[in-house]
């Protein structure tokens, strides 16, 4: 979290923590608003899924993680990357498809990652990240490491076969993984109870003799506390868990969706009145943090977001002659050497020149 200046932070450690969490929540909100503007200005492409409204869950869950813990998420993950400390410049540059993006411009919004911070992506197939997170937990056990994995998924993902197979494996093998189900009430336009025969999603954990809990996902401190407890148990006792955090997505499914075909304006407004950002700010003020201090923090963050956009804009796109970089490891060029004759891609050079490895 090198980019965050904490000199103006409160001294009471509990309040100081909340203050920093608020900063992160605010960063996520403003960052995503900027991303949306850049998307509409066609500087960002692909799908762009915003998490506005869900910040308390994101920040609370990540705050509960130890540095050595690992994180795996779906595609609605700008917030997770930022909360885990990936510099905004690096995330924004990724959204712009630039060289210094956290995936060097090759992944975009859905495929953020930062291995140095234990963040292993950023995946786009609903449910696809679950077996992978489970395998990471298996690897931790094989090493005897006291670490755990947090695997984020949406309420829509609980109906995928991969959910079932992963939870069963995690439970039958006693793996240290917490499945964080972000129940924002909808998977695209489908309300939870139209999709899931058991709409109390945490109860599904019982089918694997696994602990399942539900938490108010807009209550940052509650999210942090229960995530912390479940992670601790995962690390120490190798007990996996499901944590369902109930929250709301203020915006449409992606920037392209107005988000009103399947829910009413009233419903959205009602939830906006319980904005976790406003709530957290109020809590800070109630605990004695002066309003001006919070305004200053907000300005700092806004500057930071602006800088990230400027950084991304100035950053270079990846060189076209390195189209295939990363696909295979070094040494593979030699293996592929003999595949050239009659190569059909149109221009074989595009793929082979510049090498396959990093």
């Amino acid at each position: 979290m090198a980019t965050i200046d904490i000199t103006s932070a409160p001294v009471d450690p509990d309040v100081a923590d909340l203050y920093e969490h608020y900063r992160t929540m605010f960063l996520i909100r403003r960052f995503e608003e900027a991303a949306e503007r850049q998307y509409k200005a066609a500087r960002i492409g692909g799908y762009c899924h915003l998490s506005s409204g869900q910040e308390a869950t994101t920040v609370g869950a990540v705050a509960a993680m130890e540095e050595k813990d690992l994180l795996v998420t779906g595609y609605r993950s700008h917030g997770f990357a930022l909360a885990r400390g990936v510099p905004p410049e690096s995330v924004m540059a990724e959204l712009f498809g630039r060289t210094h993006g956290c995936a060097h411009g090759r992944g975009g919004s859905m495929h953020l990652l930062d291995v140095s911070r234990g963040y292993y992506g950023g995946w786009g197939i609903v449910g696809g990240q679950l077996p992978i997170a489970t395998g990471m937990a298996l690897s931790l056990v094989r090493r005897g490491a006291k670490q755990a994995v947090v695997c984020e998924l949406g309420d829509g993902a609980v109906n995928m076969g991969a959910f079932h197979e992963s939870l069963n494996l995690a439970a039958v093998w006693d793996l240290p993984v917490v499945f964080l189900v972000i129940n924002n009430l909808y998977g695209m336009g489908t309300a939870v109870d139209r999709a899931s025969a058991e709409p109390d999603l945490f109860k599904r954990a019982a089918a694997y003799r696994m602990e399942g809990e539900r938490v108010d996902g807009d209550d940052l401190e509650a999210v942090e506390a229960v995530t912390g407890r479940l992670l601790e148990r995962a690390r120490e006792e190798r007990r996996p868990a499901v944590l369902e955090a109930v929250t709301y997505r203020f915006r449409g499914h992606s920037v392209a969706d107005a988000g009103l075909a399947y829910r009413t304006r009233d419903e959205v407004d009602e939830h906006r009145h319980h904005d976790p950002l406003a709530h957290t700010r109020e809590m800070l003020e109630a605990r004695g943090v002066p309003s001006e201090g919070l305004d200053a923090l907000e300005h700092e963050v806004e500057d930071q977001v602006e800088r990230s956009v400027a950084f991304a804009e100035a950053d270079a796109p990846p060189p076209v002659d390195r189209l295939a970089a990363g696909m295979y490891t070094q040494g593979s060029d030699e293996q592929f050497e003999r595949m050239r004759p009659g190569a059909p891609f149109g221009e074989a050079e595009l793929v082979f020149a510049g090498g396959l490895g990093e």
Binding site: G161, A162, M188, T190, P317, P318, L323, P344, G346, V351
Partner: protein, 348 residues
């Protein structure tokens, strides 16, 4: 069926009492579904977001209002489950149209398509059938990145027991989808993301279909045959115009329309005339559709060919996000043109 016959460019107006209209590919698909649902009670649509959300790509927009939630059924995110449910319903004689949001997501339902739907007729000795339609778009563009930009068309086309069609025009979108719905076997209808918004003249006659297994000569020419399907046909037609204008080269474009059955006859007849062939596809060419085409052409036209069959498609990488990289990887008109010139020995 002659109206949609072999030698006709797919987008010309069709003389028919029912008339014709200029609509998008997306609207043409919707028209096909509406007409077939009106005609046959057994037809119903099922998939993620096909109802309340009006379809992820708006193909089914309005249909739930018109036919109700039983015949336009929203599903959980469970492709294997609901696609397999389509198989089961079809075995009892329903005519399910299962929409899969994009071809990429068929990977999680592959087993139901390849090892169940495709097997039923033969494995059960013809005792039971599976008359279902699976609709899904392939294609890349718009920086959707590696997991969302794929075209596995050839995998399904290589599966005995399935039929696979891939319309390139609104008229064929309507005609082939209708043919698929009426067909008594499982048919995969591969749509395409970039074409959804393309417009064309579509005959309104509800009895007109585009026959499965029949390619179309989308453009006549004499110097080179480009063989393609889906969006690659749209690209190729533009390249053909440009080559006529800039290089005075006459390019024939054969739009496959069906991948299984594959109309090798039409392809071979064209190549016999032009003596040169270029196969273009949106997907990766190695082990792709263009491989089969090149294999068939070299066999059927061995003595006719003046040059090796060339191929062009997506560069063989998981599609990167950055716009510049994506563009460099796609089978753009530029790249098709270069490949065409190469096939004509007009470029290295």
């Amino acid at each position: 069926m002659s109206a949609a016959g072999v030698t006709e460019a797919p987008a010309v107006a069709i003389t028919d009492a029912a008339g014709a209209e200029t609509v998008t590919y997306r609207e043409a698909l919707r028209l096909a579904m509406r007409q077939e649902m009106e005609r046959d009670e057994r037809v119903f649509v099922m998939g993620e977001e096909v109802g309340l959300f009006d379809g992820s790509y708006k193909v089914t927009a309005g249909l739930m209002d018109e036919f109700g939630p039983d015949r336009v059924r929203d599903t959980p995110i469970s492709e294997e489950g609901f696609l397999g449910a389509g198989v089961g319903a079809a075995m009892l004689g329903e005519r399910p149209i299962v929409e899969v949001m994009t071809l990429n997501f068929l990977l999680v339902a592959m087993d139901q398509v390849v090892n169940h739907a495709a097997k039923i007729g033969a494995m059960f000795g013809g005792e039971v059938r599976c008359p279902m339609v699976i609709r899904t778009p392939n294609g890349a563009g718009n920086q959707l990145t590696a997991q969302h930009s794929q075209s596995f068309d050839g995998w399904f086309a290589g599966t005995p027991g399935l039929k696979v069609v891939a319309p390139a025009t609104p008229a064929d979108a309507k005609g082939l989808l209708k043919a698929a719905i009426r067909d008594d076997d499982p048919v995969l209808v591969i749509e395409n993301l970039p074409i959804y918004k393309e417009k064309g003249v579509v005959p309104l006659n509800p009895e007109l279909i585009t026959p499965i297994g029949l390619a179309a000569v989308a453009r006549e020419g004499s110097d080179l045959t480009i063989v393609s399907h889906s969006f690659a046909t749209v690209r190729s037609l533009k390249v053909a115009e440009k080559m006529q204008a800039e290089h005075c080269v006459s390019v024939e474009v054969v739009d496959l329309r069906s991948l299984r059955p594959l109309d090798v006859e039409t392809v071979a007849a064209s190549v016999a005339k032009t003596n040169r062939a270029l196969c273009v596809e949106e997907g990766w060419p190695s082990y792709g559709v263009s491989a089969e085409l090149a294999a068939r052409i070299q066999h059927a036209c061995f003595d006719d060919l003046d040059a090796p069959v060339e191929r062009v498609g997506m560069a063989e990488v998981p599609l990167p996000y950055a716009k510049e990289l994506e563009l460099a990887a796609m089978p753009t008109e530029d790249r098709i043109e270069r490949a065409a010139l190469r096939t004509l020995d007009l470029a290295p």
